[in-house]
């Protein structure tokens, strides 16, 4: 059955950071089960959520992501025993930090999706896409990226010298 697709004025960009063993496999299962979800998501595969540095999330926002999804194995099921416990702690602190600097936490979602949960993957991606669509484009970090670019170029010898002295 082919349903007529709604046309939206704003298509958010969603970046997903997932571990190979659970969520990536869960997303594969959604595919083999021919489930359907919005095409806004781009998936980056990591060995484990333990490898996901919060800096990547910042980078994704700077790069124009409107929403970020981080997902791995359920607690206790990590392929590497405890990687996701470390990740959970790290992200708990990171969320606080983001909240503090004024990022709407509705743009960032952490979840556990197992290799058997193709359906949950679909719900997660669909839910986040709709939610972020409602929130509109993410501006803050794009501006930040520009600023960083601006202040980041050390193009005169004087600047270089000053920089070296710090």
């Amino acid at each position: 059955m082919h349903t007529e697709k709604e046309k939206h004025t704003f298509e958010p960009k969603i970046i997903a950071f997932v571990c190979t063993w659970c969520t990536y496999a869960g997303a594969d299962l959604a595919g083999t089960s021919r489930m359907q979800y919005p095409a806004n998501v781009r998936v980056l595969k990591f060995p484990c959520t333990g490898r996901i540095d919060p800096v990547f999330i910042l980078k994704a926002f700077q790069q124009g992501a409107d929403g970020v999804l981080v997902s791995g194995c359920h607690p206790g099921d990590c392929h590497y025993i405890a990687g996701n416990f470390h990740a959970r702690r790290r992200f708990a602190a990171f969320r606080k930090l983001l909240e503090f600097v004024g990022v709407d936490l509705g743009r960032l979602q952490f979840s556990w999706v197992s290799a058997a949960e193709g359906g949950k993957w679909v719900e997660m991606v669909t839910g986040l896409t709709e939610q972020v669509r409602g929130m509109g484009p993410m501006q803050e970090f794009k501006e930040l990226a520009l600023e960083e670019q601006w202040s980041g170029s050390i193009d005169t010898p004087e600047l270089q010298e000053a920089y070296d002295q710090i």
């Binding site: 990536y24 781009r42 990547f56 790069q63």
Partner: protein
């Protein structure tokens, strides 16, 4: 400049139905660094792979991206193909445009745009991929087995029979463990000694088993395939090589009244002793705490009477280093002891059951010794207090087990069955006696188990009372047992001659210390943890270390033996190769950047991070940095995300690669 080749697969129509594959190949072909791009019906087929190899050679490709199904499906296939064309396999990546794109979207235009982005992302990633050499580690084809209960014995025999040397280390003076203490065994009631002792003798006589009894693990170094284990052989005071096992020393030793722990203190032994007559090895040991020679310097009788001159009062502990490639841990269990405070509990034991205060309240293992034909009573059931035969006997199950308030919430698994066995043994020996059992549930899954349990009720007429015992006390020479029968809701009071407590199976005391030496993990009770509860039940998460028997959780003999053979099979699989090959996805430390904070060491789930000293030419210590042992690293990357100075990198998932992907979007 890289010369990347991109190969877009139609997957029959699975991809091409929703994704315009030609357009993908054309668009991606315009990306900087891409030297060649094409599409093909079935990339994974023989001709598809042929096309890939031909292009690598003819186009002198430096990197490859195959846009097709999930890498979980065919990454290995394409990496192999790339390798056979002369490129390092890790210079090939897959872009998943089937499971993550064509199958989950309907709009052809949308799906095509997404596919182009996915492939573009992998193109940027692959540019940053580095040549990764396969890591090989040599394998020492010798195994260590820790613990000589039935688990350790079975594992050692299996491995040795397969042609490999085994070092078996047992803490006690003899191997055998708990099974050597049992009388008859459920569910068949064959005598434990009869099935156990031949195996013990096999161990002693096996040309490939090196047995160290009265010995412990001092120190473990190394990793899978290459462990160095230091074994402490405790001073036995008898030279094993000289002793013939004649036993004269034990006969002549003037100290005679030391309670024999093997017999649960029901019998006595001398100061120079073997724990039981069938001990393997049959070499005595001097219990220095109770020996007059060691206490006062006088005596020395055993040395005088020993023909071959095997007694050596000067003997000291010896440390021996054994190189092994694999380790099987089979240290078994301890029984919950009623007098002591259980772990994690502020309530002291089960004072209400009077164990230790009322002599005729005993535990299940003591009952085993009473019922054993080779035990201190020759198999006669009699009361420890006065030697009379008990005519009314009460068994209480779940003592300590499933008692959250005492800190043990698990089921000990074997007590329902051995209590049923005890009632049978009792009725076989005391024909006019009556056995009562207080129980919460009867848990009898297992082949022929429920039938066995029913037999104890239906044929042997044990009376089962569902409920708990609230109190027991001594009244004259009887023990009054008060409890409730919850199935009919009445209070029950039984005047018993003897009470047997089915006490909980607990991990060994000191199980955590051994685990720390081995670098393996354990649960909150201190049972050792397997790598995966369902799919890797005999392996530890630490590579090269395996588990067998009750050290991993409560188990009966059939389960213990199965697990031991499974662990042995895992060891043999490891020993089937001379070199271990592993994926080179491992972390590496950049020593110049490392500040030696060792956060990585703290978070590494595998204990792969070591401390390494950096010295200058004069040998002065410059600094201490982290070193990741590639044989041990599991490749999760947790260290990298944790490292504050960004000095450790996981090959195959470097920051460069990931940032390149994010930036492509």
């Amino acid at each position: 400049m890289s010369r990347i080749g991109v190969f877009v697969c139609h997957c029959g129509e699975n991809i091409s139905r929703t994704v315009d594959v030609e357009r993908v190949a054309a668009e991606v072909g315009k990306l900087p660094g891409v030297a060649f791009s094409t599409d093909y019906k079935y990339m994974c087929s023989d001709p598809g792979q042929g096309l890939l190899k031909k292009a690598i050679r003819e186009e002198r490709l430096s990197h490859v991206v195959v846009a097709a199904c999930s890498p979980r499906m065919h990454e290995k296939t394409f990496r192999k193909a790339v390798e056979s064309a002369g490129l390092n396999p890790f210079l090939c990546e897959m872009a998943n445009i089937r499971e993550h794109c064509s199958w989950v979207h309907e709009d052809r235009d949308e799906a095509t745009v997404k596919a182009i982005e996915i492939v573009g992302m992998m193109v940027e990633r692959v540019k940053k991929n580095r040549v990764l050499p396969t890591i090989t580690v040599p394998v020492t084809k010798r195994s260590l087995v820790i613990g000589g209960g039935i688990a350790g014995i079975q594992a050692a025999l299996d491995i040795a029979d397969a042609g490999h040397e085994v070092v078996l280390v047992e803490r006690e003076p003899s191997i055998g463990g708990h099974m050597a203490q049992l009388s008859e065994t459920f569910p068949t009631l064959d005598c434990s000694q009869c099935i156990m002792t031949p195996k013990m003798v096999d161990v002693a006589n096996h040309p490939r088993i090196k047995l160290y009894t009265y010995a412990e693990i001092e120190h473990v170094e190394g990793y899978i395939g290459n462990f160095q284990v230091t074994v402490r052989r405790k001073a036995r005071s008898v030279i094993e090589e000289k002793c013939t096992g004649c036993g004269v020393c034990m006969e002549k030793c003037p100290v005679r009244k030391i309670p024999n722990t093997f017999d649960r203190d029901l019998g006595m032994r001398p100061a120079i002793y073997v724990p039981f007559p069938q001990a393997v090895p049959n070499t005595p040991v001097i219990d220095r705490e109770n020996c007059t020679k060691f206490k006062t310097g006088k005596c020395g009788v055993c040395q005088k009477v020993c023909g071959p001159g095997a007694v050596d009062y000067e003997q000291e502990d010896r440390l021996i280093v054994e190189p092994v490639g694999a380790i099987v841990v089979a240290t078994g269990f301890d029984l919950y002891s009623i007098e002591e405070k259980p772990k994690g509990s502020s309530i002291k034991g089960y004072g209400e059951f009077g164990h230790g205060r009322i002599p005729d309240v005993i535990d299940g293992m003591t009952f085993e010794r009473l019922a054993s034909a080779s035990g201190p009573t020759g198999g006669k059931i009699m009361r420890p207090s006065d030697g009379r035969e008990p005519k009314q006997i009460v068994f209480i199950q779940c003592v300590g087990s499933r008692a959250r308030e005492k800190g043990i919430s698990y089921c000990s698994k074997i007590c329902c069955m051995y209590t049923a066995k005890h009632t049978m043994l009792y009725h076989h020996k005391v024909h006019d006696g009556q056995a009562y059992v207080f129980f919460m549930d009867a848990r009898t899954p297992g082949k022929s188990y429920d039938e066995f349990w029913r037999r104890s009720i239906e044929e042997e007429e044990a009376v089962y009372i569902r409920g708990m015992v609230s109190r027991l006390y001594q009244k004259g020479d009887k023990i009054v047992v008060m409890g409730s029968d919850i199935s009919v809701g009445v209070q029950v009071e039984i005047e018993a001659d003897m009470v047997v407590l089915a006490t909980a199976v607990q991990p060994r005391k000191g199980a955590d210390t051994l685990a720390q030496k081995l670098g393996i993990s354990y649960d909150k009770y201190h049972f050792y943890s397997e790598a995966h509860a369902k799919l890797r039940p005999v392996e530890c998460a630490t590579a090269g270390i395996y588990l067998a028997g009750a050290c991993q959780g409560p188990k009966d003999i059939p389960d213990t033996v199965s697990q031991a053979s499974a662990a042995a099979a895992k060891v043999m699989t490891l020993f089937a190769r001379d070199q271990l090959e592993r994926e080179p996805i491992v972390a590496r430390v950049r020593e110049t950047g490392c500040v030696g904070c060792f956060y990585c060491k703290k978070v590494c789930p595998y204990g792969a991070v070591e401390e390494k000293e950096i010295r200058d030419r004069q040998g002065n210590l410059v600094k201490v940095v982290a070193y990741v042992n590639p044989g041990v690293c599991g490749g999760c990357g947790t260290c990298q995300a944790t490292c504050p100075s960004k000095s450790v990198e996981l090959d195959g998932y470097t920051d460069e690669q990931i940032v390149a992907m994010i930036e492509s979007l």
